[in-house]
Amino acid sequence: MNWHFVLITFLLIVVVTETRHLIRLRSLRDMIVFYAVWGLTLLAIIGDMLELTELRPLDWISIMMQPLNRLIS
């Protein structure tokens, strides 16, 4: 089963239903944050579909923590 396809379809349904709700809410800030999170999620799915190894957050943490780990050891 193509789970990426399922998730993208779900995200498309979410954007339609939530946009209607956000219009009624009349808050530009809420709308911007929602589309930012939605866009980020879509990009993450596409990145995962393309099997980009750069997408692994634990690797980012590992790189960020290297100076501190060196300091401790």
């Binding site: 809420d30 929602f34 939605w38 999620t41 995962d48 943490i61 960020m64 923590m65």
Partner: protein, 364 residues
Amino acid sequence: MIKYKGIAARQFFILTFGLTIGTSILVTPSGLAHTAREDAWIASLCSLLINILMVVLYIAIARLYPGKTIFQMNELVLGKILGKAMSLIYLFYFLILTGTLLGNLGFFITSEMMPETPIEAIQILFLIAAIMCARMGIIILARVGELMFPWIVFLFMVLLLSLIPQIDWNHIKPILEDGWIPVANAGFHSSMFQELIVLMVFLPLVKGERKGEKALLWGAVAGGIVLSVTVLLSVLILGIEQTENSTFPAFALAKTINVGNFFQRVEGILITLWVLTFFIKISLLFLSMLHGIKTVFRLKEQNHLIYPFSVLFIIVAWNTYINTVYVANIIQQVWASYAFLHLLVIPFGLYLIGLSRTKILKSK
């Protein structure tokens, strides 16, 4: 209709207890046995002690800024821009934590129980429960926790009592053969997996300031005791080698239950216990992320972010829990120091700055 706004101290105690046990009950014995060997149980008591110190620190911060969540405190202590940046750092931490937990859950279920079910299906199923909980809010989660708690205690007692006949006291001897250093090291490492900072988001919601603090402290203590007992039983029954080499030693422990060739194959008890506390942990993380993003961006509502976030959790889960070797490597080399920053270093810094700020304000 009566509208409830806060959560009771008793409910907060249960949430703390659930968060402390969470995924730790399955994996902690292995990590402790790896470093502390026969003294893993002493190391788990050290871990409990460190957790108590953490809670004391969190209570001290909460007393400086009563009624404020960790995200609001960040802004009050560090100023608007730095505070928001710090809150985003915490949100990233919570996101990775949620993804890793979800990955861990999927891996456990597919490797130990349902090998033919796709891991994605299991993760999505659990996430649906967390989504429902996130939509309903913390008060509903607190009530669900209240309903679950007697079952959690009952199942743990069944597990405990049915394992007692198999105890071999020689497995924990010699005591402290290599001294305190490996024990303290393992204890520190293990304490970094109980993310009690998450509860700083919900502490202001507890009715009665001091009661909430007590509930946080006793919840952490009770959860720590359950973990310590599990570690002790793992070492006493499985021995060091099996505890260290199992991916899920507590599950292996539950499999050994056999009372009179009649009461056996009851590992489902442990799975139920774990799933219930896992649900509490993942729901708390989800709710705290929603609350955090609402505070940082000053949103009117937060519920429209639930669905995109839940999809993001799945993607993070797929990209964090790649395989056991990768995760074990990260846990051993990186995670403890990363969590240490979020659980102790930053809160301690916040406390010192907050304390000096309030003292300066008072002297003026």
